[in-house]
C-alpha cells in the first residue's frame, strides 16, 4: 500500500524537502489522533449549523444526532490513543460512548414523541411557525 501512496505524495509535493511539507506528507500517509479530532470537530460544526439554520424540526433532531456522534468519535479516538500509550484505564472512553448512545436513543424517543404531540396541536413542523412563547 505505502509503495503506491508514497510516489503519489512525492508527485503532489515536488519539493517535499521542507520540514512542513514532509510533515504534511507524513500526516497524509500516517493519520494520527489529530486527524480524527479534526473529523470530529467538523462533524460537530456541521451539526451545529444544521440546528441553527434548518426549519424542519425532524432535521434539527438529526443534526443533534450528528453532534453526539462527533463527541463519540472524539471519545473513541482518545481511548485508542491512551491504549497505545499503555494507559490501563483507556477503555473508559468506550464505556462512556455506550452511555452516550443510550442517552441519544432516549432523547430521540422523547423528542420524536414531542414532535408528534406538537404536530397534533399546531399542524406544523416548521420551527419558525411554533412561536407560542414569543412576545
Amino acid at each position: 500500500m505505502s509503495n503506491i501512496l508514497t510516489p503519489v505524495c512525492a508527485l503532489l509535493l515536488q519539493e517535499a524537502t521542507g520540514d512542513r511539507l514532509s510533515l504534511m506528507k507524513q500526516g497524509l500517509t500516517h493519520p494520527d489522533l489529530s486527524k480524527f479530532l479534526v473529523i470530529g470537530a467538523l462533524l460537530f460544526i456541521i451539526g451545529v449549523a444544521g440546528v441553527l439554520t434548518r426549519r424542519n424540526i425532524i432535521v434539527i433532531f438529526m443534526s443533534i444526532e450528528l453532534i453526539l456522534n462527533a463527541a463519540n468519535l472524539n471519545f473513541i479516538a482518545f481511548s485508542r490513543y491512551l491504549q497505545d500509550t499503555g494507559n490501563a484505564g483507556a477503555v473508559a472512553g468506550q464505556v462512556f460512548t455506550v452511555f452516550i448512545i443510550v442517552v441519544a436513543a432516549a432523547e430521540a424517543a422523547i423528542g420524536l414523541g414531542i414532535v408528534i404531540a406538537l404536530y397534533r396541536n399546531k399542524e406544523t413542523i416548521w420551527v419558525d411557525e411554533i412561536d407560542l412563547l414569543k412576545w
Binding site: S34, K35, L37, G50, L52, A105, L112, G113
Partner: protein, 216 residues
Amino acid sequence: MVLSGWEALFFWIFGFAALIAGLLTVLARNAVHSALFLISSLVSVAALFILLGAEFIAGVQILVYVGGVMVLFLFVIMLVNVSAEERGREAIFNSTSQVLATLVFSALLAFGITYELNQGAQNLQKRDEAKLKEVAVQRAEQQAASQVGATGTTHLTKDTERIGASLYRYASLPFEIASVLLLVAIIGSVMLARTLKQEAAVDDVDPELLKSKGEL
C-alpha cells in the same frame, strides 16, 4: 496512535464520507433524504470506530442508531411530513441573516479548530520513520498474539470482553441508571404521543360522554 498503509487509505475514505454525508443531511430538501444521508454518515463513523479498534462500539452504533433510532425517525417522518410535502417548494432554511451568521461562525470555528489541532500536533510529535515502524511492528505482534477465528483467516478481538469487564466492574451503578432512563423514555414517549381520546380512555371516562359535554 498512528495508522498506516491500507488503514490510512480507509481512514481518508470513511472520514470524507462521514463529512460529506453529514453535510448533505443538513442540505437535503426532503426529510427522508436527510435521514438516509444521516444513516450513511453514521455507518462511516462506525467504520472509523473499527479503524480505531473499537469493534463493539461500531456494532452497537449500527444496531442502535441505524437499526433503531433511524427507523424511529423514518416512522415519525412518515406520520408528520405528509402535509408538509403537499405545501410544495417552501424554504428549508431560516431567514437569510440567520443562515449567514451561522455560516460565518461555523467557518471561523472550523478554521480555528483545524489550525489549532494541526499546530498542536506538529509541535507535539515530529515523528520519525523508526518510531512509526516500531509501532506498526508492535501492533502486528499484538494481532498475531490474539486468538485465531474459526476460519483461520481472522483474529478475534478482546474489545468486547474489556468493555464488559470495565462496565460491570467500575460503572455498574451508571449502567442501572441508564436502564431506568430508558424506561422513563419509553413511558414518556408513550404518554406524549397518545391522543386526547386515548387519554380520556385511560382516565376511565367514556369518550362519548366527554364528546356530549363538548370537552373532546
